[in-house]
């Protein structure tokens, strides 16, 4: 049996909202393993804590309790819950990708630049990064006319294709997907599915949330179900 790439043990997160004097539970005692190359889906109602789990792994949320043991290529076995910020930044550049529903980019950055610069961050030379960016944009059938335009003005589906291309171009070892197909039409969805499948053959480990259950069943090896912050 292969060692897991990622294992979460009793990971908990609650948000303290000071002004409202409120404590909101995000997730509690989440425990699971991801084997190398495995594609796991997370299901559950709105507010059940699915995105919280992904954001904890990516460290957008600060974990409170538990361990997130990751077998890093660069750093060996590390606990993401306690890794220092520089290490997290290095992992985000090289090993861990995140695709959300929303594309957040610097204004006045063209679609091609958005995708290309993600790859340049990993140290790839500009011409190779550019060629790969163009290959992916073509794969996702983003109209050529849009390559040199700014994604701010794109439709939801066009933005998302840029977003997915940006995360995938680095060939991260782990890819976290938070509803990456939410605003896509059937044709674009099938494109994303093809790319996910090819990433899987390349050995990428993936953890994804998809509101389209049929889509999820088509791509995932197994599913985790969340209810009120707890994995059931």
């Amino acid at each position: 049996m292969n060692e897991p790439v990622l294992s979460l043990r009793n990971v908990s997160k609650a948000f303290t909202l000071h002004a409202q004097e409120q404590r909101v539970e995000g997730c509690r005692d989440v425990t699971f393993d991801l084997a190398p190359g495995e594609f796991v889906g997370i299901t559950g109602r709105s507010g059940s804590g699915k995105s919280t789990v992904l954001k904890l792994i990516y460290r957008t949320y600060l974990p409170q309790a538990g361990e997130m043991r990751y077998a890093s290529e660069a750093f060996g076995s590390i606990d993401l819950a306690r890794a220092d910020e520089r290490t997290v930044l290095a992992l985000r550049r090289q090993e861990i990708g995140y695709v959300s529903q929303f594309l957040r980019v610097v204004p006045r950055t063209t679609a091609r630049e958005v995708v290309e610069s993600a790859m340049r961050e990993t140290g790839t030379d500009p011409s190779a990064a550019r060629a790969e960016a163009e290959r992916l944009l073509e794969h996702f059938e983003l109209p050529k006319a849009l390559w040199e335009s700014f994604p701010q003005t794109f439709s939801g589906g066009e933005k998302l294709r840029v977003n997915v291309a940006r995360a995938m171009i680095k060939r991260p070892r782990i890819l976290l997907l938070d509803e990456p197909t939410a605003s896509l039409d059937a044709h674009s969805k099938s494109k994303v599915r093809a790319l996910l499948a090819s990433l899987k053959t390349e050995g990428t480990t993936m953890l994804g949330i998809f509101h389209d259950l049929a889509f999820m069943e088509g791509v995932c090896d197994r599913e985790l179900h969340m209810e009120a912050g707890i994995l059931s």
């Binding site: 948000f15 303290t16 909202l17 000071h18 002004a19 954001k55 460290r59 957008t60 949320y61 600060l62 750093f75 590390i78 890794a83 220092d84 910020e85 520089r86 290490t87 997290v88 930044l89 290095a90 957040r104 610097v106 204004p107 006045r108 950055t109 610069s117 340049r120």
Partner: protein, 280 residues
């Protein structure tokens, strides 16, 4: 985990305006209202600020007006004398010597060779009686490069890089728009290829479209030159766009520090929550 030396280390920096009294020196918490002592009126502009900047990293500093953001950069650029604290640059004596104990002459050398600064107010960062080319040449002369042809060529490359039209390079930046002035300041700050840039509110007061062009430039420098930066701004959108890590300042103190997306999406401190959620 990673072992390279930080480009810059700041350790326990404090800056007071005024001599302080027993009350504010020993019981700052109760003696101060905001950053000012109720008893003696001393302004505690910075109290015990510590941070590191790593190679190629952009460190954001946010906080409301008067929180001490500019004072941090002013102390680092030797425009202000800190009351106490230490600072180390990897490029200066391999990070072993405190910048703030260096002699006046050493300080000038550090400033001219190892630092670049963009001032909030272009009047402070540029000599308006000189042309843009001369402003940049001046910084290079200060850094001991006296080859006129080479200086001018480099100045032109930098100004081109920052998209100042060729036919305007020989004129004073006095007549430039705010955005162009900031771009000349950036070109000047880059002229000695410093390991770190200090940027104080580079986009404040500029029109949105002009802001975007300046942000573009910073992003491009970050990608192509890989120089580390401290980016001071009260604009969270600017910080979110450009900073890898962020420090939140209030009344001269660091209230929170973390990965920029974490500060924005999962702020811990009540003050940071107020700051972030007030903008949603």
């Amino acid at each position: 985990m990673t072992t390279t030396l930080p480009v810059l280390t700041v350790d326990d920096l404090s800056k007071r305006y005024g001599s302080g009294c027993a009350a504010c020196r020993d019981h700052a918490e109760t003696a101060l209202q905001g950053n000012t002592c109720r008893h003696c009126g001393t302004v505690h502009a910075l109290s015990g600020v510590s941070f590191e900047v790593h190679p190629g990293e952009v460190l954001g500093i946010v906080g409301e007006s008067g929180s001490g953001k500019s004072t941090i950069l002013n102390c680092l650029y030797f425009d202000e004398e800190p009351t106490s604290g230490h600072a180390y640059l990897a490029a200066y004596e391999r990070g072993a010597a405190d910048l703030w104990t260096a002699s006046g002459e050493r300080r000038r050398w550090i400033r001219n060779h190892l630092l670049g600064k963009v001032y909030q107010n272009p009047m402070l960062g540029l000599n308006m009686d000189f042309s843009s080319v001369a402003n940049i040449a001046e910084k290079m002369i200060a850094a001991n490069d006296r080859h006129v042809g080479r200086m001018e060529a480099r100045a032109r490359v930098l100004l081109e890089h920052t998209r100042i039209p060729t036919h305007r390079m020989k004129t004073s930046p006095r007549q430039f728009s705010g955005g162009m002035q900031q771009r000349v300041q950036i070109a000047k700050a880059l002229s000695n290829e410093p390991p770190i840039l200090l940027l104080d509110e580079v986009t404040t007061g500029l029109d949105l479209s002009v802001q975007a062009r300046v942000l573009d430039l910073i992003k491009q420098i970050r990608r192509d030159v890989g120089v580390a930066m401290i980016l001071v701004s009260h604009d969270l959108a600017v910080i979110r766009m450009l900073a890898d890590r962020t420090i939140v300042m209030r009344d001269g103190r660091q209230v929170e520090a973390g990965l920029t997306d974490q500060i924005m999406e999962d702020p811990q401190h009540p003050y940071t929550q107020e700051l972030v959620y007030s903008l949603l």
